[in-house]
């Protein structure tokens, strides 16, 4: 009898599974963005989600759950039912730096999620106040090393992208500048423009307008290729700095245990969005880098998460950075 019931249940399950494959999605899909509306991750999620809605035939609704460097929103999304109706936009901080920064983290970036794929990265730019006495990156690095203790590096708060990438920069270059924390990129930039602080590293979308406006200067962009948004800024490699290539990537994840067919539909919708001319243009206008070919899809993202956790943990631990 017991056996019969379990067979019946399995059969029902199969039917239900088949039904879900045909009909998913039947209602709007919530994409949790773990940051406040208006920031780079939110903007990328909205641009990509807008096109995914068209492929999926259901609205992708953005829900901003901000807090604790993005880990509040990701913790909540990780605990959601793995039915494909709750997905999330994770990023370099929540799925790379967080394990080092938050000892009590309630999720494991590499094992608590089913990866969907990379959405877009925003390159990191090394910027300094406009009258910094160095003509190019080499002179800048030399000046930094000579004036180590006198230099002030700004960042947007422990756990922010500018903080993690800044810490990485100081460890690659081998300097220990004084760190000045701000609540967000805006106020940090303001003090950089007025020369209160000397330099910082941040996402291109945050600093490009001030660079083109001439109120701050850029020494290098930390990507293999130059960005069309800032064609005059050399890459770190071109300018003579090895080992500092970093981008604030944003990627779509689902909670662990998504049905294979649901996951496949989401992967497909994301791929279509990233191949759409209009969506690409909007991402590129932001200075974003769009993943191509092998960089797309769930497997590439899984590998990236594992390598990012391995990359950030020792750097941030060595710097003694803890967020709680």
């Amino acid at each position: 009898m017991k056996k019969l019931i379990s067979i019946a249940a399995a059969a029902l399950g199969l039917v239900a599974g088949a039904a879900s494959a045909q009909t998913y999605p039947q209602r709007p899909i919530t994409m949790i963005v773990p940051f406040a509306a208006g920031g780079p991750t939110d903007v990328i999620a909205r641009i990509v989600g807008d096109h995914m809605s068209r492929t999926l035939g259901q609205q992708v609704v953005i829900e901003n759950v901000a807090g604790a460097g993005g880990t509040t929103g990701i913790t909540r999304a990780a605990g959601a039912a793995p039915d494909g109706y709750t997905i999330m936009m994770g990023h370099m901080g929540t799925h790379g730096a967080a394990p080092a920064l938050y000892p009590n983290l309630k999720y494991d970036p590499a094992n608590s999620f089913d990866t969907i794929g990379m959405a877009a990265g925003t390159p990191i730019v090394i910027v300094a106040k406009k009258d910094y006495p160095a003509g190019d990156l080499k002179a800048f690095l030399a000046h930094l090393k000579a004036n180590d203790t006198k230099t002030n590096m700004a960042h947007a708060g422990v756990g922010s992208v500018s903080h993690s990438t800044g810490v990485l920069f100081t460890s690659v270059v081998g300097i220990k500048p004084t760190m000045v924390a701000y609540r967000g990129t805006g106020p940090a930039l303001n003090d950089l423009m007025s020369g209160q602080v000397d330099f910082m590293t941040d996402q291109i979308v945050n600093v490009a307008p001030q660079i083109t406006g001439g109120t701050i200067r850029a020494y290098a962009i930390a990507t293999p290729q130059r960005s069309p948004a800032l064609p005059d800024v050399p890459t770190t490699k071109e300018a003579g700095l090895e080992g500092y290539e970093v981008s604030a990537w944003n990627a779509v994840f689902g909670p662990k245990g998504l049905p294979a067919d649901v996951r496949a539909k989401l992967v497909d919708a994301l791929n279509k969005a990233l191949s759409d001319e209009n969506t690409r243009k909007r991402l590129l206008d932001l200075g974003g880098v769009i993943p191509e070919g092998a960089e797309r899809g769930p497997e590439a993202l899984q590998k990236l998460v594992e390598s990012e956790v391995a990359r950030w943990t020792p750097v941030l631990k060595a710097a003694g950075a803890v967020a709680n």
Binding site: A37, G67, L101, V180, L189, N324
Partner: protein, 515 residues
């Protein structure tokens, strides 16, 4: 001057221009789309401003996807309309139900709500609308004329200057609170203490969170304000059996009398000036505007005791200041590309979604967007006056709704509103908790307004103090060596010294008075 007129001409041309729109069934028809969007923005803004708790941040975030369909100029005109529309609407709630929706309307509750309690709700709303309209008009011209050069002011203000500015603000609050000066200081200190809860900015260590994750980002201003004012006010109203006095009295005239206008004229002028200047400062310098205006009006008044008892100057000045500040806070956004507060940060997001990178080059690269937005502010202010004045009767009639029906609605809107900001259930619990604390404070004769001020200024003060000292490598002289900072500190010390002179002490006035 010629430039100014040409620029404003371009702006108004953009606002009133006809744009061909494909209307289903009618084909492509040229309609004045931007002006319609401006109207929709102002209307939505007024509504969300009036509903307690549903603030401009939440509503702009919710409406962001809709703007995908419009061109960026129209979209931003609409979003800006929501922002300053909400400032108008927020005053309505502050006056009628004593809930400050934003830090800038805390001061309006002091005399505005007292006016409502004395049957002058209509006049209070009327003068708030007129003052805001005047401030909005002046601020528009101000932005157009001197916006760009004035951004240099924003760059003079570093951490040391901000710290001194906040010290001055708190000294004003202490010096001018009379009678229960000790209680006022106590409340300010409690406010500062509350502001230190959460993850420490410099070290990343958690402070006073008791290991609870939802406290790691500190206490939200909206949660604190809604609990201390909104929920506490409801509890207080419920504990005495009489229904509210407002309801029993005549609503009174809606439009202010000649005498009211005469009393308000100068406060409106001064409020506009102060609010406009402080609004330019990034880092939310605008929160000081209404408060500074209130302090000054009280200082200048012949009979300062009327303040806190429903003085019309106490509404006219701060309301003008907060509207002027709301508009001039677009200056750092449009010229430096730096958002001074959460709403402006959302506007940056809205711009980037539309492919416009905010910053110094917007003015030259997208002149029709820049000047169109500025012109739309003036048009929007006119619309708000037209929307609001006839609607005052409607809002005031809300007061006639029996309180047993009204308070559940207010509680519901507060809960929904607070949940919509961060989607955190704990925020809803917390407005209840702060409501109880606020009720206890009122019962023991402590006023919640100084607490809220301490909370708002405390955070900025601590962070800027530490930042300034880190940059100066621990040298306290930095606050004196920097001229702007030194001047602000001297003003603070003079105010304090004056307060300590006994003769002046007698005439010290009350800034914060609850009944």
């Amino acid at each position: 001057m010629g430039d100014l007129i040409a620029n404003l001409g371009l702006g108004f041309g953009t606002v009133f221009g006809l744009i061909p729109v494909d209307i289903p069934g009618l084909g492509v028809v040229p309609i004045p789309l931007n002006i319609l969007l401006c109207f929709v923005g102002c209307l939505v803004g007024t509504l969300v401003g009036v509903l307690p708790g549903v603030g401009p941040v939440a509503s702009i975030a919710m409406l962001l996807p809709i703007t995908f369909k419009f061109d960026p100029t129209g979209a931003l005109i609409m979003l800006a309309g929501i922002y300053y529309g909400a400032q108008y609407g927020g005053s309505t709630t502050a006056i009628l139900v004593n809930i400050p929706g934003e830090a800038t309307s805390v001061v309006t509750t002091l005399d505005g709500h007292q006016m409502a309690r004395r049957g002058r709700a209509g006049v209070a709303l009327g003068i708030a609308a007129i003052g805001s309209f005047f401030a909005g008009c002046v601020a528009t011209v101000f932005i157009a004329a001197v916006g760009a050069p004035l951004t240099r002011l924003a760059l003079i203000f570093g951490p040391a200057e901000y710290f001194s500015l906040m010290v001055m603000g708190l000294v004003f609050a202490v010096v001018l609170a009379r009678g229960s000066i000790l209680r006022a200081i106590a409340m300010i200190l409690v406010g500062i203490l509350f502001s230190t809860v959460g993850t420490d900015l410099e070290t990343g260590q958690e402070r006073m969170t008791f290991g609870m994750q939802f406290l790691s980002d500190g206490i939200d201003f909206a949660v604190l304000a809604m609990g201390l004012f909104g929920v506490a006010e409801i509890l207080r109203n419920l504990d005495h059996t009489e229904v509210r006095d407002v309801v029993k009295q005549a609503i009174g005239r809606l439009l202010p009398s000649m005498q009211d206008m005469k009393d308000s004229a100068k406060p409106i002028l001064r409020g506009t000036f102060i609010g406009g200047i402080l609004g330019i400062l990034p880092g939310n310098g605008a929160v000081l505007g209404p408060f500074a205006s209130y302090t000054i009006e009280k200082k200048l008044a012949k009979d300062p005791r009327r303040f806190g008892q429903g003085a019309i100057e106490g509404v006219a000045g701060p309301e003008s200041a907060n509207n002027a500040g709301a508009q001039t806070s677009f200056i750092p956004l449009l010229t430096l590309g730096i958002p001074p507060n959460a709403v402006m940060a959302l506007m940056v997001g809205a711009m980037t979604i539309h492919g416009i990178v905010p910053g110094p080059q917007v003015m030259t690269k997208n002149p029709s967007l820049f000047w169109g937005m500025i012109a739309s502010m003036w048009v929007g202010n006119l619309m708000l006056l037209i929307i609001n004045l006839p609607m005052i009767g409607l809002w005031v009639r809300l007061l006639k709704v029996p309180y047993r029906l009204m308070f559940p609605a207010i509680l519901m809107f507060c809960s929904i509103g607070i949940y919509s900001i961060n989607s955190l259930p704990t925020d809803v619990f917390f407005i209840g908790l702060f409501g109880l604390i606020g009720y206890a404070l009122i019962k023991f004769g402590f006023e919640p307004a100084p607490l809220l001020l301490g909370f708002v200024l405390g955070k900025l003060m601590e962070e800027n103090l530490r930042r300034a000292l880190i940059i100066s490598r621990g040298d306290m002289m930095t606050f004196i060596e920097r001229p702007v900072s030194a001047v602000l500190l001297v003003i603070a010390i003079v105010m304090l010294a004056l307060a300590l002179l006994p003769s002046i002490r007698k005439s010290r006035e009350e800034v914060f008075v609850d009944d």
